[in-house]
């Protein structure tokens, strides 16, 4: 999907999903119930997935729905259920008014500083002699191809490291969560 031929439609939807993401995020942090919060977070993720697609990152968008919303958040919900934390009455876990106000102000300061990043913008077109060759830049055609190229060439090491990382996480989770044998 590109914005060349349907600019208004594109822009409208971009802002729409942005708004959904933003509002859902706010609702997410203000929900008392963990289950509700988790579900609102899923909404944020869906909206982001839509934005990814609109930003020409279709594969990532799909992964977002499959892995993030589909797997990771399910695990969250699962744990919430497992620990039986669902009852809102015992989970009034949001800070008081002053705490929220202060947090909001701190958040405003933070976002103001982060917004400074827009001042410079992305102004340069970097190209270097050692930059990837033409066919690499062009890459295989299709949706996955452009991702696969860097993933298995430049970031092969990173890719392999993620596998080790997951392994570590698995051992860790198992070690921590299993019942004591002794």
């Amino acid at each position: 999907m590109a914005n060349e031929f349907l600019p208004l439609f594109y822009t409208f939807h971009f802002y729409l999903f942005s708004l959904i993401a933003l509002v859902s995020a706010i609702v997410f942090v203000t929900r008392k119930s963990p289950v509700a919060a988790a579900l609102w977070l899923v909404v944020v993720m869906f909206a982001l997935a839509a934005l990814y697609v609109m930003l020409n990152a279709e594969f990532v968008g799909v992964m977002q729905v499959l892995v993030y919303a589909g797997a990771i958040m399910v695990v969250f919900l699962f744990v919430v259920m497992l620990l039986n934390l669902g009852h809102p009455s015992e989970l009034n876990d949001i800070r008081g008014r002053w705490g929220r106000l202060a947090a909001g102000l701190l958040g405003l300061a933070l976002v103001a500083e982060l917004m400074a990043l827009s001042r410079g913008g992305v102004a340069y077109n970097f190209s270097l002699p050692a930059a990837p060759k033409a066919e690499v830049l062009a890459g295989p055609a299709g949706v996955i191809g452009p991702i696969a190229a860097p993933l298995f060439r430049e970031y092969l090491l990173a890719f392999e490291l993620t596998s080790v990382l997951l392994l570590v996480a698995i051992i860790g989770a198992v070690v921590l969560a299993k019942k004591r044998s002794a």
Binding site: A116, Y124, F126, L128, L167, I171, G172, S181
Partner: protein, 506 residues
């Protein structure tokens, strides 16, 4: 030999020590899971882990001795990396050695703890090696996740679980900052390769670029969290206190060293030219770390917490070396890391010995009059304390470590005399708690009916004796270590390449 990192073979070649360690760790993981938990099995896995480390160390040393180089790429092949690797691996070995003996006491019967130490070490090695922010991030995560688990590995202890939770939550939180920083740096420079970032900052005059600077700021926050710099340090005392003692030592020494290794590499290779932006924040963070860490340490009544604050403080001292931002700073770091690691493991070996079985708390009062019952234990601990204090001769290499940092600070073109003064003045404050330990051990009587500390077990004793002897020898003859640190400090600062025509984007 020159590795061509653009080929998988070259990359693998350059990563042989890391691969050795990771593969070894994986094999051991299977071995650990092979049999039911038991003290004996735990011990066997531990010994096997030591063997893996030994092999890895051999590989590292072999690589280090070959004067290898590599093309530009995602990892560095240089002396700094090998030097840092040696520190991590020796720390891991000491941790495992102490763990083999203290785990049964803490009722940690699984061999997985040793495996996780190995994985964490692998993550550290990646951190020290990476020249790409993404690789760096994955290295950090590999180390962090392993250490999160290690912090909470004593499942029977609520303190351990609590420490792990705090460490994890805040760690994940800070990871967000770190990652955002990487994203913005990528956004500003179009690359995640550290060297290329540095070059592009030089070539394209990005010193005032807002996105870059915000990115660097976020990255600094992430790093500061990992090195437990004030005010991002709050996790450290709790996590250190909760973790099993050998793991605490590991966190205090190796995790910190790894964080600084990446900190220095990134800072020198990528951001040296924007020192105008980061100098003031780093200066203040360093000063705050030294002051707050030292002052709060004065109030501690628990040995592990005291050492946690002490570790925060030493992070502050090393931040001075970072602020110096010179190759001398990185060699000072290497020297310091060695001395600090030795002192830390020496100290925690004693803590581990004095710690009462079944009890998690380590009140300083347990050390009252230690000299009268265990003179050599007290002397060893005293040496470690003085080393941490940075005292010559009696504190061994600790003095020259501080000396080296001061040297880096005073020769820095950035004018760090005031920070050096802060360093020495806060060192005086640190005497308040290090010497307190000395006086508790030597000058107070042993309380009536105080339990005799258990005899040091052989591996722990080896760690203690080894650390102390090394400290003292290096304190008398620091030349070799200094030479090693100097020759391995060659993190190359960036230089501008021919700027390419800039084309306005979009």
């Amino acid at each position: 030999m020159n590795f061509d990192l653009s080929t998988p073979a070259g990359l693998m070649g350059a990563l042989v020590p890391d691969i050795v360690l990771m593969v070894g760790a994986m094999v051991l993981m299977l071995y650990a899971a092979w049999r039911p938990e038991s003290a004996a099995h735990q011990r066997n896995v531990g010994y096997a882990s030591l063997v893996v480390i030994a092999v890895t160390v051999a590989a590292v040393l072999w690589f280090a001795s070959r004067g290898l180089t590599a093309t530009e790429g995602v990892i560095a092949v240089d002396g700094f990396r090998w030097a840092a690797d040696v520190i991590f691996l020796l720390s891991a070995a000491a941790t495992i050695a102490m763990g083999i003996e203290s785990n049964p006491r803490d009722r940690i019967m699984g061999g997985e703890s040793h495996v996780l130490v190995l994985f964490a070490a692998a993550g550290m090695m990646i951190m020290a090696a990476s020249r790409d922010l993404m690789i760096l991030f994955l290295g950090v995560e590999m180390m962090s996740i392993a250490v999160y688990v290690l912090a909470g590995i004593n499942r029977g202890s609520i303190r351990s679980a609590e420490g792990a939770l705090k460490y994890f939550l805040l760690g994940a939180f800070s990871t967000g900052f770190l990652l955002y920083g990487i994203a913005l740096i990528y956004g500003a420079t179009g690359t995640t390769n550290i060297a290329v970032v540095g070059e592009r900052i030089a070539s394209f005059a990005l010193a005032g670029h807002a996105m870059l600077l915000i990115g660097v700021g976020l990255l600094l926050i992430g790093f500061a969290f990992k090195v437990a710099a004030v005010p991002f340090h709050m996790w450290a005392p709790d996590a250190y206190e909760g973790a099993p003692t050998p793991i605490t030592a590991y966190m205090a020494a190796a995790v910190k060293a790894a964080a600084f290794a990446m900190f220095l590499r990134v800072w020198i290779e990528a951001f040296l030219l924007i020192d105008g932006a980061w100098f003031a924040p780093v200066w203040w963070v360093a000063a705050a770390t030294m002051i707050v860490g030292n002052v709060v340490a004065l109030a501690q009544r628990n040995m592990k917490r005291m050492l946690a604050y002490s570790s925060i403080v030493h992070g502050g001292y090393l931040l001075v070396a970072v602020a110096a931002g010179t190759p001398l700073g990185s060699s000072a770091f290497l020297f310091y890391a060695v001395a600090y690691t030795l002192a830390t493991f020496g100290a925690f070996a004693v803590v581990s010995a004095v710690q009462k079985p079944g009890e998690h708390a380590t009140p300083i009062a347990d050390y009252d009059g230690l000299w009268s019952t265990r003179p050599w234990l007290a002397v060893g601990f005293g040496v470690c304390m003085l080393a941490l204090l940075g005292f010559p001769i009696f504190g061994g290499a600790g003095f020259f470590a501080k000396w080296y940092v001061l040297q880096a600070a005073l020769t820095s073109p950035r004018g760090l005399v005031p920070l050096s003064v802060v360093l020495v003045l806060t060192s005086v404050v640190s005497a308040g708690y290090y010497l307190h330990i000395v006086r508790v051990m030597f000058m107070r009587p042993r309380p009536e009916g105080a339990a005799e500390p258990a005899t040091l077990q052989p591996l722990t004793r080896m760690v203690l004796v080894g650390s102390v002897v090394m400290l003292l020898v290096l304190g008398l003859f620091p030349g070799a270590l200094a030479g090693w640190a100097t020759s391995n400090a060659a993190i190359t600062p960036p230089e501008a390449r021919n700027p390419f025509p800039t084309v306005p984007f979009n």
